[in-house]
Symmetry: C2
Amino acid sequence: MAEREQELEWVERMAMFCAEEYGVPPIAGRILGWLMICDPPEQSAGQIATAIGASKASLATNMRMLTDAKFVRRRTRPGERTNYYRVDDDAWETVIRRRMAGLAEFRDLAADGIDLAGPGSARAERLRVAYEAYAWIIKLFAEVPRFSTRRER
Amino acid sequence: MAEREQELEWVERMAMFCAEEYGVPPIAGRILGWLMICDPPEQSAGQIATAIGASKASLATNMRMLTDAKFVRRRTRPGERTNYYRVDDDAWETVIRRRMAGLAEFRDLAADGIDLAGPGSARAERLRVAYEAYAWIIKLFAEVPRFSTRRER
DNA sequence: TAGTTAGTTCAGTAGATACTGAACTAACTA
DNA sequence: TAGTTAGTTCAGTATCTACTGAACTAACTA
């Protein structure tokens, strides 16, 4: 299989993973996947559109989404009006951290449920179990040192 | 606000959380939410349908999904043909553990990408960073003792 | 036997989402 | 000035998902 073909297949796998696991639109997933593996690592919307086979309009919408979410950084170059994009170094750690934040939301929901059912009631037991499962994992994560294979910049 | 009304509002919050965070259909989320807070804790499809305002058909489809995923347990009673459902004690720990499995999938995808880009190449650097962020969190959870506020049964 | 009811299956529908082409804006260049 | 091109916006479309009513099955009861 040609190099490019293999890359695109990998990009597609990455896109589908992001779609299923994180609910990201397919094209946003492809952009992310492409930016993970492309050479050079910084590319214009036009280059990316060509590579993944999407329209300019889709690129505009999805790049907006990705830059707003801080997964992708935009860079301009002096004397050029083209914007160049690259994946943020911290993108994946950000993804992980947001996921953890989601856990806290559930834990708080469970806490509200316990109040509603009456703390100490038999009915609150189910909720307490859930609360504790989430509190456990959140605490675990909070105690751990921040990940840092931080590259020098 | 009436007790029941408050409960249903809580169920709705839970359902929307499950929908957004886990991609579960709204009715499946409502079933889960209802089963977390309802009294008695074990209810028939008919009772649940009435409580959350869904059709029999939707109950059939969504209960199937939830029992297949082991989030909800079905129980029969001698001399009755009605099935009764309750949330599995381990449901939420299961949710957390599946989420962790999703992380491993990403890590492996990143590893494939590194092979494709050529390990050691500059191009593989982005992928290596992602790989390590995921490997870090996965290792963290793998090392930790299994959660156990296990109730006696 | 006929009637009742728990539960399943399926065809159709409503609503949402992702995507695109085309028209447009804005910044530059000759 | 007119022409070029990066990027945005928007209306329309295709596709998908969740949901329901209705027809059905299967297990029981009188």
